[in-house]
């Protein structure tokens, strides 16, 4: 398995792990605010960058990285636009809403999870396809 494919698997596991941990904490503690702490494990996605000897990337690795990033950012952008427009249309553009801080921060974490998941999954699929 190519080094950067291993990295993609690692990131996918971190993203899925964060969601699973968040859900588990929420179910056990019944406190969603405190459960958002589970998203802290997303920091593990930076672990491979701390390796002393970084693997060299070639043109195929860079192409897969570029294409998977485009896929991730495209989906994130679509979700962002639909989310923003959907809220405005559904609730009314001048409506004042009260949102708990954990939900607001959860949306930001969620955005990062979407990017990480789609980028990793797309990379893995492309490495598998050749």
């Amino acid at each position: 398995m190519a080094e950067f494919e291993k990295r993609a698997w690692w990131n996918l596991c971190v993203a899925v792990g964060a969601v699973v941990l968040f859900a588990a904490f929420w179910i056990v503690t019944r406190k969603p605010a405190g459960s958002t702490g589970a998203f802290g494990i997303l920091g593990l996605s930076g672990m491979p960058f701390f390796r002393l000897r970084q693997p060299a990337s070639d043109e195929r690795d860079r192409e897969i990285d570029r294409k998977s990033m485009i896929a991730a950012m495209s989906l994130f952008w679509i979700l962002l636009v639909f989310g923003v427009v959907g809220m405005g249309v559904d609730l009314g553009w001048d409506t004042l809403v009260q949102v708990p801080v954990w939900a607001f921060s959860g949306v930001i974490w969620g955005g990062w999870i979407v990017i990480l998941t789609v980028k990793s999954a797309t990379s893995i699929r492309m490495y598998r396809a050749g």
């Binding site: 398995m1 080094e3 070639d58 043109e59 195929r60 396809a129």
Partner: protein, 77 residues
């Protein structure tokens, strides 16, 4: 990237064999890419850049046309 009806084939496997069973790892080192990229090119799953194609050809002391063959049904018709 090849279009519809276009395909880039290659003779890398045979050329490696002719070069004393050169391994994919060895060819990768000569061309400056990983073994996985050579594997993908050899299997026809990845089309290399022009620069990489030249590097691979040079590793075998061949011309690019001896290593890579461009098949196009569109051009033939």
């Amino acid at each position: 990237m090849p279009g519809k009806g276009e395909v880039v084939r290659n003779n890398i496997r045979r050329l490696r064999f002719d070069a004393g069973e050169m391994t994919q790892e060895q060819l990768g080192k000569l061309a400056g890419v990983t073994r996985h990229t050579i594997m993908a090119i050899e299997a026809g799953k990845y089309d290399p850049s022009l620069l990489l194609a030249f590097r691979i050809a040079r590793a075998f002391s061949k011309n690019v046309e001896d290593v890579f063959i461009f098949d196009s049904k569109q051009l033939a018709s």
